[in-house]
């Protein structure tokens, strides 16, 4: 088998205009009474993709998943799976399986029978069922627990049974609603990689709901960031992080500093912005906004340098301030620097050198600076 990395690197069907999406969500709206849970949402998910839905609690992630599984009907719009419209097809006829946020294990059945349930519905012959169940139990490392009932398992074990049960039928699409919510950090990280391996080995399409951004970044080929029933941005993890398309996404994923300002001049490939804080910034920007437009500039903390001496680029892309707060994390240090107008910005620096003799301390006057390609222009 090819190594995971090499497959992943070459996997980008969304960039290929001739690729046919496996799941196409077309202008889907879902209302509960007057409340709009999913709002005119469109998405394309490609075969073998590991797709993550990321968003705050209540933004409609589960509702979207439940529409894919067939438990809720869209109020308007349609969902197409593998070229076939899913409208009117009941859950038990969809080639889609779901792992539930609440696990939803059958309390009166053993672990074994829980996993075999779907296979029995398909009328698979008994020896084959036994073989498949065995295989699934090994996969989730629960072979010793085959005869237990769900109430005799720990939370994490139940979660693994739920996963095995939803995988047993080898569905074309697996929907996972918060699959790792109940696991502790270590097991969670392990399971993340197991899930990715599994998805690769079986060649399945995964749609994972999560509100843990790190989890989404680790596992997914692409992430859809949702808010209030809408998709705000769909992109690969690096794109989402480095090129957020809005304040919401920039703020939602990771830490960010946002400077508000006005475009003062726009050259080819760069813009200059007069920030409200009082310094001028020049950044690389491919589609330059008009002069005078009010925009935001997002810069990640790790792209901001903190120095005692005036940087060479000053007065462009540099500002003076004092150190307000220091968080020493061992591998890196986080500085909160208070600029002249009172705005506090975050900067983080890797502690690549051991115990500096004269570290930056509280209340020191410092400069912050960053490169021309460090910031992202946000037009909203």
């Amino acid at each position: 088998m090819k190594s995971l990395g090499s497959i992943r690197r070459s996997f980008a069907p969304w960039a290929d205009p001739t690729a046919v999406p496996f799941i196409a969500v077309k202008n889907v709206t879902k209302k509960f009474g007057d409340f709009v849970a999913v709002d005119n949402l469109s998405l394309n998910i490609y075969p073998r993709e590991f797709f993550a839905l990321l968003g705050a609690s209540g933004c409609g992630k589960s509702t979207l998943l439940r529409m894919l599984a067939g438990f809720e009907q869209p109020t308007s719009g349609e969902i197409v799976l593998d070229g076939q419209s899913l409208a009117g097809i009941p859950p038990y006829r969809r080639p889609v399986n779901m792992m539930f946020q609440s696990y939803a294990l059958f309390p009166h059945m053993t672990v074994e029978n829980n996993i075999a349930f779907g296979l029995k519905q398909d009328g698979m012959p008994k020896p084959q069922i036994a073989e498949r169940v065995d295989q699934m139990l090994k996969l989730v490392k629960l072979d010793k627990f085959a005869k237990r009932k769900p109430h005799q398992l720990s939370g994490g074990q139940r979660q693994r049974v739920a996963l095995a049960r939803s995988l047993a039928k080898r569905p074309k699409v697996l929907l996972l609603d918060e699959p790792l919510g109940a696991l502790d950090k270590k097991l969670r990280e392990e399971t993340q990689f197991e899930l990715m391996d599994l998805q690769q080995q079986l060649g399945l399409t995964f749609v994972v709901v999560t509100h843990d951004q790190e989890e989404a970044m680790t596992m997914a080929d692409r992430i859809a960031v949702m808010a209030h029933g809408k998709v705000i941005q769909v992109a690969t993890p690096p794109e989402i992080y480095e090129a957020p398309n809005s304040r919401f996404v920039a703020d939602f994923i990771g830490d960010v500093n946002i400077f508000d300002g006005t475009v003062s001049s726009a050259g080819p490939g760069t813009v200059e912005i007069a920030t409200q804080t009082g310094f001028t910034v020049r950044v690389a920007s491919s589609d330059a906004p008009a002069v005078g437009a009010k925009i935001g500039l997002a810069i990640r903390p790790e792209k901001i340098r903190v120095s005692r001496d005036e940087p060479a680029c000053a007065p462009l892309n540099a500002a003076q301030g004092e150190i307000w707060d220091i968080g020493y994390l061992g591998d890196m240090t986080i500085f909160h620097v208070r600029l002249k107008d009172g705005k506090v910005i975050k900067a983080s620096s890797l502690n690549a050198v051991r115990a500096v003799e004269d570290p930056l301390g509280y209340d020191q006057q410092v400069w912050i600076s960053f490169d021309e390609n460090a910031g992202v222009v946000l037009k909203d």
């Binding site: 599984a69 009941p90 859950p91 059958f106 009166h108 349930f117 779907g118 005799q152 049960r165 939803s166």
Partner: protein, 271 residues
Amino acid sequence: MVKWSRFNIASIVFGFAFLYLPIVLLVIFSFNESKLVTVWAGFSTKWYVQLLHNQALLDAAWVTVRVGLISATVATVLGTLAALAMTRYTRFRGRMLFSGMIYAPLVMPEVITGLSMLLLFVAIGLDRGFWTLTLAHITFTMCFVAVVVQSRLLSFDRSIEEAAMDLGATPVATFLQVTLPVIAPAVFSGWVLAFTLSLDDLVISNFTSGPGATTLPMKIYSQVRLGVTPEINAVCTILIGIVAMGVLIASVVSRRREIQRVRDEQAAFAL
């Protein structure tokens, strides 16, 4: 541990005496040698032997059991379906009215239920007998089953039904393989309740039965009007024995299951 005060002991003794003294007396006098119910004349089991030769009483017992089994079973099916409808289809018009109407027969005076059923049977020209009796019992026990099953369904986690359908089970398969096994204990208690209610009903039976369909309570009641005989005491003692056995078995079974569950749980944590 609370200390036993005299007051506590006294209230327990009086309470239990109030509840059980009549029953204890009845049981004791069923073993009375004398034909006079209130005069003790020594121990004897002759009334029990005589029972076996009282064909009318045995017939009545047989009718009662048959009515009880049939009506409890049908009422359980109908009551369970009603409970499902009431908890599942929460959005139809007039739901409040309907669920209110399910409870109404519980508080309706039996005389009224009996009378109205009698009128119905007369109106549609149904000859009163075994089947009208059974129908009437189905009607009045059904709502008890519905209430018992409904309270179980309210705490039922519907996502397991969704999971079943998601894995390819049709709605019918889902009901039979997932819903029913999970709510089975409530359905069973509904059945037991319906059976015991049917077993001791007198008022409604009086209105709705006809010649050849006399139940045990009816028979006992009519005999008692001619005077209490030790024979009647013996029948009642047997009835008490059956009911007590039923209660005992039910509680032992559920206690066993509880112990088994606790043991399983301990085993799970020991690993």
